[in-house]
C-alpha cells in the first residue's frame, strides 16, 4: 500500500491545500489554495511531486505526525525547529520517514505558515477540482484533527534530484510592491501615502485578508460619500473601507467587494503577504521599480 500520515496533534490550525480551484468565481467560489503557493510548490518539487499536489499548511507550527508506512516529506515556508523522532531536521530538505517515525514542528520563529509536502500528495477527495480548504466559502476538507489518518497518493514516477534547496533567510522588514488599483484616483496621493509610512498587521488577519493599521487614508473631496457597486476582487487587492485602514486580500478573498481598490500587490510578493504575522510592520513600495 501507499503510506499515510497519522495526525497526533494538528497544532493551532492545519489545513490541506493545493493550488486552488480557479474557474468558479462567477458562481461565488474563489480560487483559494495554499496562501504561500511558492512555498508549497518548492516543498512539492523537493519530493518530486507535481507542484500542485496537496500538502499541509500549518499555522505557527505545533504539528505532530506519525508515518504509516515509509513516506518522504519536505518542509518549506515559515521557519521553525523541526524534529524527526528526536533528531533535529531542516526545512527545504528531503526527509525520509520510516513507518512509525514521528515528525514534529516546533513553534515557528519567523513567518506564519509552514508547508509539509509528502511524496504522492495528500489524497483527500477533490471538490470542484481541488483538495483545498476554502475557509470563506466553506468548501474542501475540514481542518485536520488529531487522530485523522491522511492517505498519501501514489508516488510520482520521478525521484527527488536534490537533498535540499537553499533558500535565503526572510527579510527583517516585509516590503509589499504595489501597482495602482482601479480606484487609486478616489484617494489623495494614495500610492505616495501607502509608501510614506509603516503599517502594522492587526490580529484580524486570516487567509481571507491581512488587515493593516496606520494613518487613515483620505478620499479626495469629490469622492467623499460616494458608493461603489460591488465588483470583482483579486488576490493582493488593497481595498480601503470607510475607516481609511487598508485591507489586503488573501487567497480566500470574497469574489467581489464594494469598497475602492487603490493598489494591487504584485504576484511575486503574494507569498510574503501569506507570511506576515499580527504585530509585524510592513511597508509598501513602488511595484514598477522592483521587478
Amino acid at each position: 500500500m501507499t503510506g499515510a500520515l497519522e495526525v497526533l496533534d494538528p497544532g493551532l490550525l492545519t489545513l490541506v491545500e493545493d493550488l486552488g480551484r480557479p474557474g468558479w468565481a462567477h458562481v461565488g467560489v474563489g480560487r483559494s489554495g495554499a496562501a504561500d503557493a511558492g512555498a508549497l510548490r518548492l516543498a512539492n518539487r523537493l519530493v518530486a511531486n507535481d507542484e500542485g499536489a496537496a500538502g499541509l499548511e500549518v499555522l505557527l507550527g505545533g504539528l505532530r505526525l506519525r508515518a504509516v508506512g515509509d513516506v518522504t516529506v519536505a518542509l518549506a515556508g515559515a521557519r521553525g525547529p523541526a524534529w524527526l523522532d528526536d533528531r533535529p531536521v531542516g526545512h527545504e530538505a528531503v526527509l525520509e520517514l520510516r513507518s512509525g517515525a514521528e515528525l514534529r514542528l516546533g513553534t515557528v520563529t519567523s513567518g506564519l505558515r509552514t508547508y509539509v509536502a509528502v511524496r504522492g500528495g495528500i489524497d483527500v477527495p477533490t471538490v470542484l477540482g481541488s483538495r483545498s480548504t476554502d475557509q470563506l466559502a466553506g468548501l474542501g476538507p475540514d481542518p485536520v484533527r488529531a487522530g485523522d489518518v491522511l492517505a498519501v497518493g501514489p508516488a510520482p514516477a520521478d525521484w527527488p534530484v536534490v537533498d535540499l534547496a537553499p533558500v535565503s533567510a526572510p527579510p527583517d522588514r516585509v516590503e509589499l510592491p504595489v501597482v495602482p488599483g482601479p480606484h487609486a484616483d478616489w484617494f489623495e496621493d494614495v500610492l505616495g501615502r501607502l509608501q510614506a509610512s509603516d503599517w502594522r498587521v492587526t490580529p484580524a488577519t486570516s487567509r481571507v485578508a491581512v488587515r493593516l493599521a496606520g494613518p487613515a487614508l483620505a478620499r479626495t473631496p469629490e469622492h467623499r460619500g460616494r458608493e461603489l457597486p460591488s465588483e470583482g476582487l483579486v488576490l493582493g487587492a488593497v481595498q480601503v473601507p470607510p475607516d481609511g485602514q487598508p485591507v489586503v486580500f488573501g487567497v480566500d478573498h470574497p469574489v467581489t467587494g464594494g469598497y475602492p481598490v487603490v493598489a494591487v500587490v504584485r504576484r511575486f510578493a503574494h507569498g510574503r503577504l501569506a507570511q506576515v504575522r499580527p504585530g509585524d510592520r510592513v511597508s509598501f513600495v513602488n511595484g514598477r521599480a522592483s521587478v
Binding site: H26, V27, L128, P180, G181, P182, E231, V234, L235, V255
Partner: protein, 213 residues
C-alpha cells in the same frame, strides 16, 4: 455600436483587468461574448475566471499571460453576433410564499400580500452576477413596484432556500447565512451542490421564473 458605451479596460495587478461598462445589459453582453470566445478564440485561452458585477467585468488570466493584451474591444464588437436572446436556460423555482417579511413588503409597497406574490411570480428574471456566497445569484427583472430597501439590521441567520428581495434585485439564499434582504418565502430546490454538474443552478445569464406552490 457607439463609442460612448464602449468598455474601458483598467489594469488590475499582474493577473487581471477590470472592464468598466455602462450598465448591467452591457456587462451581460460582454460576459457572454468572452465566454463564447473562450470556446473558439485562442486569444481567450488564458482567461481562467470571469467575474461579472453591476457595472464591471473582471477578467483574470492564468500565470504567465499578460492580461493587458486581451482583445476586449474585439470581443465587445462581436457581442451582438454571439449573444442571441433566449438561448440561455430558464429555471423554474417553486416557492412557498410564507416569508417573515411578506407583510412588511406589502405595507412598504402599498400592495396586498397576494399582489406582492402576483408581482414577484409575474416577472421573468435573469441572473446578473453572483458573488455574495457560493451559488448566490443576483436576479434582475424585479417589478419596480417591489423595490424595497434592505433591513436596517441584518438577520443573524437567514435559512437556506429563502427567497428574498432588496433594491432592484431578487435572490434565493443557497445556504444559511447572515443576511439583510427581505424574505418573501422558501424554495426547496438545491441552489448549489458541488457534486452536481454544473454545481450552481443559477449562473450569470440564466433566466428564472418563480411559481407559487
Amino acid at each position: 455600436m457607439t463609442d460612448a458605451r464602449a468598455p474601458r479596460v483598467v489594469p488590475y495587478g499582474d493577473d487581471a483587468v477590470l472592464v468598466e461598462l455602462a450598465g448591467l445589459a452591457e456587462v451581460r453582453a460582454l460576459d457572454d461574448a468572452v465566454r463564447a470566445a473562450r470556446v473558439s478564440d485562442p486569444d481567450a485561452a488564458g482567461v481562467v475566471d470571469q467575474v461579472p458585477a453591476a457595472r464591471t467585468l473582471l477578467l483574470r488570466v492564468r500565470e504567465g499571460v499578460d492580461p493587458g493584451v486581451l482583445p476586449v474591444a474585439r470581443w465587445w464588437g462581436a457581442r451582438t453576433a454571439r449573444v442571441v436572446e433566449g438561448t440561455a436556460a430558464e429555471v423554474r423555482l417553486t416557492v412557498d410564499y410564507d416569508g417573515p417579511d411578506l407583510a412588511d413588503v406589502a405595507r412598504l409597497t402599498g400592495l396586498t400580500v397576494d399582489e406582492v406574490v402576483a408581482r414577484h411570480t409575474g416577472a421573468r428574471y435573469t441572473v446578473a452576477f453572483g458573488g455574495f456566497m457560493a451559488g448566490f445569484a443576483y436576479l434582475v427583472g424585479l417589478d419596480p413596484v417591489l423595490r424595497v430597501p434592505r433591513l436596517d439590521s441584518p438577520r443573524e441567520r437567514v435559512p437556506a432556500g429563502s427567497v428574498a428581495i432588496a433594491d432592484e434585485y431578487s435572490a434565493v439564499y443557497p445556504a444559511a447565512t447572515p443576511g439583510g434582504w427581505r424574505l418573501l418565502g422558501r424554495c426547496g430546490q438545491t441552489l448549489f451542490d458541488v457534486d452536481r454538474d454544473p454545481p450552481a443552478l443559477l449562473q450569470p445569464g440564466t433566466h428564472v421564473r418563480f411559481t407559487a406552490s
